[in-house]
């Protein structure tokens, strides 16, 4: 038995149920919110340590042997993702205390947040493809409810697009799982990987691969079906946006990494070539969309799309170094992107708007906030010595080594345009003088010193993580390298789950 594999799923589920039990007590829900996510972070670190020691940590639910029951599998990639889930969950829970209003809290913000974290952790840890579908749905249902909490017009409009596209993607995923079961007669991912190699009709497998690619591509907000993301992510409260920005699309990316290294590694020329095109176009459209925007959170939302492209590029190149870059990029991106959203929330509370044209003078009034913004912003653009530099450097070097010059040029160009976007936010929000004529009317809601520090605490923590990754690049690179080595060795995964085959 290895309880640490199940605990990252069970703790948020239990915490969610407990907060439901204390439906009327906001204080208890807040306490459980922080304590539950702290416990999640703790167990995720336990899981990471034990995965590092053992390679794979496996638990067969209910004691059913591997291909028959549902298996929970943690390899290094899963463990990294779960640790990041813990970090983001904890940071957002602390940030929620001063920012989530009474109305949201009484309508079940905290239970939904726990449910979302449970779904995300479950998706990272399951070794069963149908179970993956179930966790996706758990996560989606919680995210739907979080997205419309508050019930403003923009939220409804965003939610309709978000719900429709994500349901469509789930249906494609479910159809693909059904067809896969019809072809191979198994749902355990390790068993699927073993049997896929024995199928003679490769075209059927390719069709299935593309169905999975479309489905996970929608969830990861990859080109061309990304438009639900910028339509929805700027509408809910900032804490919710930050949670979504950090975790939701990355579950889609994780699923792509898992499925296209473990199962569909037969016709790499075909599937991974499509992925490479998708990656390049995702980067470009995302960053160009951001360049056209003048709303703080919309710019950041479009940047999520463009950064997804980098992660997919790592997968699509499918060389050891590229996968290292992809994993490193996910690791860096989740922290940085969540942090940027949290900062946009602080600016909103101080100035009362998200519109860049009406903002200004933040640096003069709150210089610390300016510095805290610069750390993740420059990291996102890939300025050394912050974490984004190493992530981009590894990916670009991998693409040059693989001989894909076009994608190298695109990646460099997108990096430059990201810097442009970040400079735009810096100049408009922090640097330029506050627009005087309308400035008098614009005032954020009054903010006590204690609340301000509670909002800044997670931001400082995440900025610290970014700097730490930047200064200890080698440490994280080694972890990413070990995880990429595991991804490129599907046989190791199969043997670990099913036991050594004769």
């Amino acid at each position: 038995m290895s309880p640490e594999v199940a605990l990252p799923i069970l703790i948020p589920l239990m915490a969610g149920a407990l907060s439901m039990a204390f439906w009327r007590s906001r204080l208890m829900q807040r306490l459980i919110g922080v304590a539950g996510t702290a416990a999640l972070l703790g167990t995720s670190i336990w899981l990471f340590v034990s995965v590092q020691a053992q390679g794979y940590v496996i638990m067969n639910a209910g004691g059913w042997a591997a291909p028959f029951g549902i298996t929970l599998v943690a390899d290094l990639l899963s463990a990294i993702m779960v640790v990041l889930t813990g970090i983001i969950g904890f940071a957002v829970a602390v940030y929620s205390l001063p920012t989530i209003g009474r109305g949201h809290e009484t309508f079940g913000y905290y239970p939904l947040m726990h449910l979302l974290l449970a779904g995300v952790a479950g998706a990272f840890l399951t070794g069963d493809i149908f179970n993956l579908y179930v966790w996706f749905e758990v996560m989606l249902l919680a995210s739907f409810a979080l997205l419309i909490l508050g019930g403003e017009r923009a939220q409804m409009e965003g939610a309709i697009k978000y719900v429709t596209l994500n349901l469509l993607s789930s249906v494609i995923f479910l159809s693909a799982v059904g067809l896969l079961y019809g072809t191979l007669g198994t749902l355990n991912m390790a068993d699927i990987a073993r049997r896929v190699a024995l199928v003679e009709d490769k075209t059927l497998i390719d069709v299935l691969a593309v169905m999975f690619m479309i489905s996970f591509g929608i969830k990861a907000a990859a080109f061309p079906l990304f438009f639900w993301l910028p339509a929805a992510y700027h509408t809910p409260p900032v804490a919710v946006s930050a949670l979504f920005a950090g975790l939701l699309t990355k579950v889609g990316v994780y699923a792509l990494f898992r499925v296209f290294t473990l199962i569909f590694n037969q016709s790499v020329d075909y599937t991974h070539d499509i992925l490479l095109w998708v990656a390049g176009l995702t980067m470009l459209t995302g960053v160009l969309g951001a360049a056209a925007q003048f709303e703080f959170r919309r710019i950041l939302s479009f940047h999520i799309v463009s950064q997804i492209g980098y992660m997919l590029m790592g997968l699509a190149l499918f060389t050891p170094l590229a996968l290292v870059g992809g994993v490193f990029y996910i690791l860096h991106h989740i922290i940085v992107k969540t942090n940027l959203f949290l900062i946009s929330g602080v600016v909103y509370r101080l100035k009362g708007t998200h519109d860049l044209k009406r903002l200004g003078g933040v640096y003069k009034a709150w210089p610390l906030l300016g510095v805290l913004f610069l750390i993740p912003a420059l990291s996102l653009a890939g300025v050394p010595p912050l974490s984004g530099f190493f992530a981009k450097f590894v990916l670009i070097r991998a693409s040059i080594e693989a001989g894909h010059i076009t994608i190298t040029v695109v990646a460099l160009l997108v990096g430059l345009l990201t810097l442009y976007s970040m400079t735009k936010i810096w100049a408009e929000v922090f640097w330029k003088a506050s627009p005087e004529n309308k400035g008098a009317a614009l005032r954020g809601t009054p903010l006590s010193q204690r609340h301000l520090w509670l909002m800044l605490l997670p931001i400082v923590g995440l900025a610290g993580c970014t700097v730490f990754i930047g200064l200890n690049g080698q440490l994280l690179y080694d972890v990413a390298e070990a995880s990429a080595a595991q991804l490129l060795d599907p046989q190791g995964y199969i043997d670990a789950v099913l036991g050594e085959q004769p």
Binding site: F130, Y133, V134, E137, L140, L141, F144, A145, I148, G151, E152, R153, A154, M156, E157, G158, A159, I160, K161, V163, T164, L167, L168, S170, V171, L174, S175, V177, G178, L179, Y181, G182, T183, L187, P230, A231, A232, H234, T235, A292, Q293, R298
Partner: protein, 115 residues
């Protein structure tokens, strides 16, 4: 049986996608309901349909020789139905609220978030 099912499933998928491409959000939800049912039927059909045989091995029966239905697709479909029910009831409430707030049943009027 399977060819008929294949045609039926194909028609439901087509109908669902047609409905989802309409401008009315009520029709959009009808399309979502249809497409999730089509996916359930698809799982059922691809896993091999066995008529008149419950997924149980009879007492003193031969586990390998007797014809028994595969229980797994049934479990999958059951799970998928429950999930689809939950999600679709959310979607119905969502469109009701959206209709109340926006005041029209027309996706073309819901472009405030687009740029």
């Amino acid at each position: 049986m399977e060819p008929i099912m294949a045609v039926v499933i194909g028609v439901i998928y087509a109908a669902a996608i047609y409905m989802m491409l309409r401008r009315s959000i009520v029709k959009l939800v009808i399309g979502l309901i249809l497409i999730s049912n089509a996916a359930n039927l698809l799982i059922f059909a691809t896993a091999g349909m066995t008529r008149d045989a419950p997924p149980l091995i009879p007492m003193n029966g031969d586990p390998l020789g007797d014809v028994i239905a595969d229980p797994l697709p049934q479990a999958l479909v059951l799970t998928a139905i429950v999930i689809a029910f939950g999600v679709l009831s959310f979607a119905v409430v969502l469109i009701r609220r959206a209709c109340q707030i926006v005041g029209v049943d027309d996706l073309d009027q819901m472009k405030e978030n687009d740029t």
